[in-house]
Subunit: 145 residues, 2 copies
DNA sequence: ATAATAAAGGATAATATTGTCCTTTATTAT
DNA sequence: ATAATAAAGGACAATATTATCCTTTATTAT
C-alpha cells in the first residue's frame, strides 16, 4: 500500500502529536526508538515533513527537537501522505491505467470506486489529533517489532 | 497500491481471458502490445503466472502462446495478486505494523478494517471471467498510454 | 529428421527505494 | 564569545524493482 517512508511518516507524526508540544520537543533518537524505525532514514522523513512546517515543526540546538502545533494537529492523516508524495494513491486506477475514469473505465473501476472513496474519506476526515488521542487511551500502539 | 508487475499481470490475464482459448493462443508480443507493457518484463510475469498452470497456461513452438482454461477463468482476481506474491496486502496493517490485530490494534485499525474487508471481498469474489466479459461489452479498456 | 517458432530461463543493466554516515548550520546554555 | 547540542543537508551504500537481452528448450510444420 504505502511505501516504508510513508508508513514511518504516519507513525512518527502520530507519536509526535501524542507526546510533544512547543514546550516539550522530541529528539530524533527518541522518535525512531518509539516507532522502531531506522534512525537516519527517519531523519530524512522528518525533514520532509518539517519543510515549510507543512506537518511538523522543529528547532535545532540544545533542547531542540520536533513538535507539532495545535493548528497542525487539525490536519488530516491524508495530508501526511500527500506531503510524502504519495497522494496519487488516493485517485489512482487499481490496474495502473493513467486514463482510467468514469467515462473511460477499466474493468475494475465501477466496483473499486466506492471502496476507494471510503478509503479517501477515512484519511481525509481523520485528523492527526484524533489519532494522538486514541494513543493516549493506551489501547493502541505504533511500535513495530 | 500494487507493484507494476502485478498491474501488468492483472491486465494481461484479463486480456488473455477475453481473447484466448485453447484453440486460439496469444503470443507475448500481442499481449504486451494490447496492454502496453514492456515486452520482456511482461514475459517474466507471464512465466510466473504460467508456473504449474496456476493462472494461465502456455505452449511453446509454432502456433504456441498463452491461453487460459475455462476452469482457471473461474479463479478470483485476488488469486492473480497472490501468485504475483503480493497477497500480503490483503491483510496488511495500513501503518505497516507486523503485530497489528484486533487485540493489539494500531490507531487506524478499527476504521481501516471494514474498508480493507470490502477491498478483499471485491478481489476475492470477482472472477477472471467476469472481468473478461466486461471487456467484451466494449465499454471498458486495459491499455495504458 | 530438420528447420522454424515461441516460450522458458539465465544474466545483466537501469532505476527507485531504503538505509547510513559525515559535515554544516542554527540555537541554546555557559 | 564559546562550546555543546540537535536538526539540516549532502554524499554514498545496499537492496529491491523494473526492464532488456541472449541462450536454451519444447513444439510444430515441413
Amino acid at each position: 500500500m504505502f511505501s516504508k517512508a510513508t508508513e514511518y511518516a504516519l507513525r512518527a507524526v502520530i507519536f509526535i502529536a501524542q507526546k510533544s508540544s512547543e514546550q516539550q520537543k522530541l529528539g530524533l533518537a527518541e522518535i525512531a526508538d518509539a516507532i522502531h524505525s531506522p534512525q537516519f532514514f527517519t531523519a530524512k522523513i522528518l525533514q520532509k515533513l518539517t519543510l515549510h512546517n507543512q506537518v511538523i515543526s522543529s528547532v535545532r540546538g540544545p533542547n531542540g527537537g520536533f513538535y507539532i502545533t495545535d493548528a497542525a494537529k487539525q490536519k488530516s492523516v491524508k495530508s501526511i501522505v500527500e506531503v510524502m508524495g504519495e497522494g496519487e494513491l488516493f485517485d489512482k486506477c487499481v490496474l495502473g491505467l493513467n486514463r482510467c475514469s468514469e467515462k473511460n473505465p477499466c474493468p475494475m473501476h465501477d466496483q473499486y470506486k466506492p471502496i476507494r472513496e471510503d478509503f479517501v474519506s477515512l484519511f481525509d476526515h481523520q485528523t492527526i489529533e484524533e489519532m494522538a488521542q486514541e494513543m493516549n487511551s493506551g489501547s493502541f500502539f505504533i511500535r513495530n517489532e
